[in-house]
Amino acid sequence: MDFLTLLQVLDSTVRLATPLLLACLAGLFSERAGIFDIGLEGKMLMAAFFSAAVASLTGSVWLGLLAGIAGSMVLSGIHGLASITFRGNQLISGVAINFLAAGLTVLIAQDWFSQGGRTPSLMGGGRFNAITLPFADTLSGVPILGPIYAELISGHSILVYVAFACVPLTWWILFRTRFGLRLRAVGEAPEAVDTAGVSVVGLRYAAVAICGLLCGIAGAYLATGLQAGFVKDMTAGRGYIALAALIFAKWRPWHALSACLLFGLLQAVALRYQNIDLGGVIIPVQVMDALPYILTVVILAGFVGKAIPPRAGGEPYVKER
């Protein structure tokens, strides 16, 4: 593989990893606070739709982003209501949210745009465009580093940079702030937080809201950054992959980055090298298609030990039965 190809594969990795990363961090906040969330997929989808819909109606991608975040946060609110206030089953709530988003997005899209559950294609200001970082062009002549800067680091939409900046930010919030301390505590031992005089419910809602926010950005990135509009079911299972990455990362921000980059890389490689010809034997496309998933299992079983979730995860906090 020559250098340029490598860069292109890595470039593709970054794009594919970004929505995973945002969703993964979203899940991290929620699950660190003890609220399991398999509804990442649904929230992303909802956000993808509302961001594209509002961007297309107003022509402003920023309003679209806000709408996407709002849509995702409404679902977060439902999840919070079910799993925090009414102490329901978090898995069921997540499943329901995925269904709800899959149905509602198409239903509303059809009602608003009558384009078969799609939004119109976004033009101009309705999309996040690639940002060229300063000096990218001038530096691109510099060997090795120049192309890396110009091709790989520069030239993504703003949300990509936001996503990557979220990693240190998440780490900092979790491990350097009061809020983070309490958030982690509430996912490990809510009764400790409660008896320390801090509201378990408040913290968990905050975590769920952050989760909604990040899923909102992830969805908006899909529909208005990577693409120019919403297509039904366009998240295509990325929420589940993000969940896998989260477990893979053992609920830690920097590891989440590595896990998402790894998934992105595996996909990028698989997309680029279909039908590999190994001296007469052609590896069928299906093998390459399944390769990221096979490798994930291999890596998980081979190199990553047991993942222990936050201790209070998945359990509603019940004081009186």
């Binding site: 209501l81 329901a96 299992v297």
Partner: protein, 364 residues
Amino acid sequence: MDKMPAWADAVLVPLISLILAALLSALVIVAIGESPIEALKLMVEGALMRSTGWGYTLYYATNFIFTGLAVSVAFHAGLFNIGGEGQATLGGLGVALVCLYLPWPHWSLALIGASLGAAVFGALWALIPAYFQAKRGSHIVITTIMFNFIAAALLNYVLVNLLKPVGTMDPASALFPPATHLPTFQEMFSSPESPLFRGAPANISFFLALIACVVVWLLIWRTRLGYEIRALGHSESAARYAGISPVRIIIVTMLISGALSGLMAVNTTMGESERLLMNATEGAGFIGIAVALMGRNHPLGVLLAAILFGFLYQGGAELALWTNIPRELIVVIQALVILFTGALDNMVRIPLEKLFLAMRRGNT
């Protein structure tokens, strides 16, 4: 002492939740400019008032019973098997191989053979994630998700490159030989005077599903293995204290779970399409999660929840047939049903408990 009578918890709570879900669904229908009353009438008439409607409802329910049981068996051991989709896919492959490549003199024998094929293939597909979970601690949620994707790729390859008859467009296997045709409800219950279940896909595998419910019930609550499965699900350390091997239980449970998922293919692949299709599972593996959770992981609950979802599927088909309501409305209704009966049930339960407690206090 309980806060409220068991019947209220088992009947009243789900019923009120369902009504709430229905009310909200009605609002959605109004919002897209249709009449909810008409819609409900169509659904009920289409799914429950005619034998053919039942034939479809029960056909779908059969799928959901199998996948729901699969999820719930795993749940009892504390394992979250999201891999029903992949296991059912492989089950389909098992059914197809058995039906296509073995000569069957009679459908009854073919049914046994195909069931075995489906169960074995489904179980084997669950074995690898189970082994990794038991031996390496690899989270079964991740591995089963991954195995769903891998199963889809595998089936795609097998159908397009190996099983598809030359010259056909459909990525599907050849039709199974007539001897493997399973009796449909129509053939079983119709007579020339009273035609019943005309054209409906429900077939004898529904009874297989009912048997599976009973067997799973016996397994979980009446056998040593079930006792050990539940013990492990509640407390691993206690299980070890009692001499129950977690590794063994995890593997055995997942084999059973995978086999149940796989058995779904007997209904779809052998009973309905009579050939192996690309996407025969159609998300039933995921519906199984909802069905299991709503059914509180009890076979009876699973059966009822599966029939409810079967009703939604068939009622939704009727809506799609006779109105302009987009098919996604059904997905929304399903979501609301899952949400209210499964996740927001305490919203109903807590006030009810208070009510019952107050009534009891009032009496004594």
